[in-house]
Amino acid sequence: MMPAMEQRYETVIGLEVHLQFSTQTKIFCGCANVFGQQANSQTCPVCLGLPGALPVLNQKALEYAIKVALALDCRINTLVKFDRKNYYYPDLPKGYQISQYDKPIAQDGHLLVADENGTTKRIGIKRAHLEEDAGKLIHDDQTNSSFVDYNRTGTPLMEIVSEPDLRSAKEAYDYLQALKLTLQYLHVSDCDMEKGSLRCDANVSLRIKGTSSFGTKVEIKNMNSFKAVRAALEFEERRQQEILVSGARVVQETRLWNDAKALTLPMRSKEEAHDYRYFPEPDLVPFVLEESMIASIRCSVPELPRAKYERLRQTYGLSEYDTNIIAADQDIADFFEACAKLYGDTKKIANWLSGPLLQEMNARKVGLKDMRVTPQDFIVLLQKMAENVLSNLAAKETLKYMLDTGKGAVLVIEERGLAQLSDSAALIKIVEDVICQNESVVQSIRAGKESAVGFLVGQAMRQSQGKANPKMIGAIIRNKLLGSSITEAY
């Protein structure tokens, strides 16, 4: 039997990612490379493209580009050459963009991308090149006029073009996540899609499964978040499938993702009929990269997410879930390893990092670097739990106070009286109170509904303000109501 029509097709996606570098200054002038300043306050004759002004390459931007190239296992073109891409738009003050055409700084790289089952796939990086960003148009509907803000003009950009190796919206999403994580590890950009420091366009086509030639591709632009990328690609996949199933042809065009309407719409075709008339930029003399420069940049490339993931899994025997969370943030990974040196229960460290500590980070909306806790303090906290000084609940409470005050675990436990009640006499008193107050529950336990013990434990914990050792409480209740031995229970 023929497979269902739509299952005959395979999706082919390639992504073009634009990454803004977080260099101090712009790519061809000395203006500050900062976001969110007053319009046109970060400009000079060079980035404004004033007559007579000339570009000078920012060495830091070049270094960042090489760093990205190395991290993506690219071949580096040691002849550094720039070209002009000519087109008219008001946000492009020179009427051309300085970019790289036939000699991109990086070519033929790849990135290993894992899905949630841990299966990895090698996604090819076709090329990555350096260029300058354009300005921003601001439209004022009230006066029906447009304004140009040139602050962004000349921000260093790296365009990273994948091979058409992605086979689904999900895979494209995973690739983008993995790419972002790798780039974050390099500290070359803040990789923030919402701020536009990481932007993504996609080329999407469908073909009959098993064939090797490509179908007609459609370029999708205006996807401003990771979610939007996935949604737009899923939409486009369906749209093209419906066209093909109906026997019609896909039109080669550029479409814009409309987030509000959750669909792609064609861009006016006039705006895409470009002949960019690339030619070598005569204002920048091509030069050959020193091998020693590449070598020293190679030394500055840190252990990358994939390698870190594998190593953490193997060295510490962590779960996939924990490792993913820990490796997703260099600071967390470093913190974890610092803790692991001090304390043997790496499982516990991982749990508490990916659990309570991460929750606190999210609640406070800060990175680990801004959290007031050292690996030493964190280990003391875990030790106090192991020693039954802190209940789980009290430990979370302790952590919160530690983060609030910057004080060590021992001090916080003492000041806040968070140490667990392990004094049998006191605990027995609490249990007796609870038994008196919950006559009917007690009856049902005695009648054999042992599961209700938990309820009484909860009541006792509340009465102790969380300080009671819950295991001991449970044992005492069982002893009182069911006659089991206390020591046996704990």
């Binding site: 004759p45 000078v56 008001p90 003050p93 051309y96 008339r277 204002d283």
Partner: protein, 478 residues
């Protein structure tokens, strides 16, 4: 002698001897401008007082005219184009900074062909400049205003820019000295670009010594211009020695073929004899790719120009026009109307030529091929300079032509740069010095070329010749 008729080195000497003051020199030049420029029209505007000169820093207080494509902070810089109407750069070109530091006195902006597109200064939105030797003739171009200003004693020095001969050809037509330095010798920062890989700013002066002095001021590495060369600037005045004994000078046979005016040829041959008499050794050489120079130039230069001029779109500065009715979209209408009204015919012609040769499908056959031939032309010179110290040619095939004579025929206009273009394509330095007059009493220019950074060789040969001949002392009958 009136001070404005003196050379820079003479004025400096008079000031040193306290026989003249900088102010007197400046006033003499301004008086001449008042008296003569309504007729010559070398200047398109005079500078504001506060931008002219600072007596406190006036080490080399020489009145100088500046071609209208070199940015001066706060002064209109228009490239004699309507499209840059009202544009005032917020910064000084590097050469202007250097001039201001030495205390040069900025007189005004000199006329030019729009964006330096032309060889007659007729393509200026301000109208043409007259040749001081014959008001019915062109001063050459594109730096015609600068050359005419110096020739008519309305400036002691002038800056020009040379993309295909735009300093040397007008210098020849006006009977003054003009030098195109080695590409990279002088910073282009602040020079409004015509063809970035060919443009160089250079001096126009009354004699070789003045040209050497001015080059010494403006030359040097500039970190703001990636194409400027980090090569030490020598004291060029030390190269002014009257001795060419044993120097080997090539005469390229390709430069003495059909099209050359007999008077020009005769003057060049006479100049060669003068230098031979001083001990120089002349030999015929071949620059076999010369015949492709003009074609190559008009591909490379127009391609770069088409891109360099894209920024004049009416968005940020200069002219902006909107047609009365919407034709396409308001934005595209604005681009089209602005550029249609803002650019003159020659600018439009070159933008179209350049756009065409860069277009997909044509790039390989035109632009890329042009770059390859450019390399061959450069190799011609490299080969000759392995054995020769310099090359001598006419600067232009004719003397100054009549106004209007070539303006309707771009090809014949382009041919007037046939001897000067190769130096730009090769990046080598070249100087034009006066070497006599035609039967119609029009100046003739002798061009000397040397290898990259061989400006000292040019000055040495030029100086030896100049000091043996009376031509540089001749003044036009104003």
């Amino acid at each position: 002698m009136k001070l404005n008729e003196a050379t820079a080195h003479e004025i400096l000497e008079l000031i040193r001897q306290e026989k003249a003051t900088p102010q007197q020199a400046f006033d003499a030049v301004l008086d001449q401008v008042q008296a003569k420029d309504d007729h010559i029209r070398a200047y398109v505007r005079l500078f504001l007082n506060e931008n002219r000169w600072d007596p406190a820093t006036a080490r080399v207080p020489i009145p100088i005219g500046i071609k209208d494509n070199i940015c001066i902070k706060g002064e209109p810089t228009t490239c004699c184009s309507r499209i840059l109407g009202g544009f005032k750069p917020p910064y000084d070109a590097t050469v202007i900074e250097k001039l201001k530091k030495t205390g040069a006195m900025l007189v005004g902006s000199t006329n030019m062909d729009e964006f330096a597109f032309g060889s007659s200064t007729e393509n200026s939105c301000y109208g043409p400049t007259r040749n001081p030797w014959d008001p019915g003739r062109v001063p050459g171009g594109s730096s015609g205003g600068s050359a005419a200003a110096v020739a008519s004693d309305q400036a002691i020095w002038a800056l020009g820019s040379d993309t295909g001969g735009s300093i040397r050809q007008p210098a020849a037509f006006c009977g003054v000295v003009g030098l195109k330095p080695t590409y990279g010798r002088v910073s282009r920062y602040g020079l409004v670009a015509f063809a970035s890989s060919l443009d160089q700013i250079g001096p126009i002066a009354k004699d070789v010594q003045d040209a050497a002095m001015l080059l010494g001021i403006i030359a040097g590495y500039d970190e703001r211009d990636s194409t400027s060369a980090d090569v030490l600037v020598p004291d060029y005045t030390k190269a002014l020695i009257k001795d060419v004994k044993g120097l080997k000078i090539g005469i390229p046979k390709e430069y003495f073929v059909a099209g050359i005016d007999p008077d020009v040829k005769e003057a060049i041959m006479a100049a060669i004899e003068v230098l031979r008499g001083k001990g120089a050794i002349f030999e015929d050489v071949s620059l076999p790719h010369t015949e492709y120079a003009i074609a190559t130039y008009y591909i490379v230069a127009t391609a770069e120009a088409s891109s360099n001029l894209a920024r004049y779109d009416g968005v940020q500065y200069g002219l902006r026009r909107q047609p009365p009715q919407v034709r396409k979209t308001p934005l595209i209408d604005m681009y089209e109307e602005t550029r249609d009204l803002g650019f003159g015919n020659e600018a439009k012609r070159r933008i179209m030529l350049g756009t065409y040769s860069l277009s997909s499908g044509y790039y390989d056959d035109y632009y890329l091929k042009g770059l390859k031939v450019r390399t061959l032309i450069k190799q011609d010179f490299d080969r000759v300079f392995e054995k020769f110290d310099a090359i001598i040619t006419p600067t232009a095939p004719t003397t100054a032509f009549k106004m209007g004579e070539k303006i309707a025929d771009p090809l014949s206009m382009y041919l007037s740069d046939v001897y000067t273009i190769s130096a730009n394509l090769s990046g080598i330095p070249a100087i034009s010095i006066p070497c006599g007059f035609s039967k119609e009493h029009l100046p003739i220019g002798l061009q000397i070329l040397a290898k990259p950074f061989g400006e000292q060789m040019l000055f040495r040969i030029a100086y030896t010749y100049e000091q043996s001949t009376p031509w540089h002392k001749k003044r036009p009958p104003l």
